[in-house]
Symmetry: C2
Amino acid sequence: MDLSVQQLRMLREVSIRGTIAAAADGLGYTPSAVSQQLGGIEKSTGIAVLERVGRNVQLTDEGRELVRHAEMVIRHLEQAEVALERMQTEATGRLEIAVMESVANSMLGPLIVELTARHPALDVRTREAFGEDPTLLVRNGEVDACFTVDHPAAPMARREGLDYVGLFRDWFRLALPEQLARDREVGPIEDIAGFADERWIAPPWDDRCGRVVIQSCRLAGFEPDIAHSIDDYPASLELVAAGIGVALVPDLALRYVPESVRIVNPAVPICRTVDLAVRASSRDRPAIAALLDVAAAVVARSGLDHD
Amino acid sequence: MDLSVQQLRMLREVSIRGTIAAAADGLGYTPSAVSQQLGGIEKSTGIAVLERVGRNVQLTDEGRELVRHAEMVIRHLEQAEVALERMQTEATGRLEIAVMESVANSMLGPLIVELTARHPALDVRTREAFGEDPTLLVRNGEVDACFTVDHPAAPMARREGLDYVGLFRDWFRLALPEQLARDREVGPIEDIAGFADERWIAPPWDDRCGRVVIQSCRLAGFEPDIAHSIDDYPASLELVAAGIGVALVPDLALRYVPESVRIVNPAVPICRTVDLAVRASSRDRPAIAALLDVAAAVVARSGLDHD
DNA sequence: GCCCACCCATCAGTCCAGCTGATCGATTCA
DNA sequence: TGAATCGATCAGCTGGACTGATGGGTGGGC
């Protein structure tokens, strides 16, 4: 059996207006059409939804139950149409963001709060991208946006079809053990070449964050001795605090600086950039425009170095 | 614009399988059919739900949003079909009972509890029939069942097309002021003719409950002096307790008998009958059968005089 | 009590939506 | 560059859906 929406619509109209003739009139058909469609329900299901009483018809229990379901079907169908229309002009629909780069998670909360406050009709969701490349998820449409981190010193390949919208710059600082800083009488700005002989703590070399350290050191004229390969900046800071080595750490990772760690600025500034990646084809969608808008506002309010 | 379920089904299949060719294969159509249907969405709505990327297609944001709504529509459509099928063999669907005759309200609670316990898929509801004739509501299909009270001494007109299923008999007792009972030295069984000269308390004469009192008195050979016309049995009992008059009160109204009221049995038994009225056409529906079944069980368990 | 009005079911006929099959342009892979 | 695959489009056909006419059945009015 296979119920059609047309059949449900007619049945519902009969349920409202009472007679087939009135339903036909209301729907702009002839009674014959309605009668045939409703007869089709019984023919295909084997279940009578109408019964004649006097010269009128009346819904059976099954018919009334079917009307209740019909209401749902028709309502969802109408909702689908209005949702489609509204998406063109208003920030509505679902907006899913892949989160992975921990760098942006600090602004994720304020972003969602303000986004839903400004656009209540927007269904904002996040999704953890376990291991997967979040830009690929954006590209494939599984999510609508993701944060990306790029290092000008070791730029990543940008995926075709995506727009990368700059949010802010995150500056690297040189983290030194307090004892070392005192011994060397370091100032607020230091050439990292001065620490060429120290042991370095850096993310793994196969990570873009790791390569930027190596690149920066080579640019300063030396090859760093990366004695400890750690992906986690807070953990790196703990090692620095323990006097085990020196590290380059971005501002965003410096919210909690352990004691006995001295932070100084590299003479040659090093930064990474944080972007929002969205499909180029979806940039004119109001919901995406709202996302970029609010993200920029959150960056400005956070006092970050907006791009 | 007018989206069809077929279009939504095809769009959803494309969203699942990735390509139009695969979707067509999955649905048993040619790619041409799917392509035309999906093209129809854009033609009718003016909104592109697909975009070509390479030699494949990809859903736009609007397309993905539409798929989410499509899932709902299709799911409800399937649910409508299974609900229809299940109603034939199981006690499912909505079962609405009109409540008005307060007589049956004492068994309404246990009835609903046991009905939902035995048939969890049944959606049992009640509806107050303000002023309307509840049997008319049943006849019109606005509800599925209602309780009715009939008096063999003054039988009501039974509505055509409805089945009245007897539940139990409710016996009338004679309520006397204790002082009067003591003065007259009444026994456990008394001919009501002995109280022909007393003032009577009874429901209004235009009520069937009122007429049964007059009928019974006439049967006993006298015309009662109905000094107080009250529709409410508890209130009547209070008047009896105050020594204002005598009354005929059914058992169901005697759950709380005030002090200084003596209850005796009429020599000629008087009763009213409580029935469940359902549409004759719905008696073979499992849900209705379950209702009648459980109602009978509740009556038996309550120790009522089942019919 | 009869007749007319009304309602619904059915049937033949028409029309259009939706499918198939073929063709073509575009893209990817070897 | 050639072969394969994908999607869009077009012509053509089929079946579903609606119209209009007919007939059975019921209810209200004179």
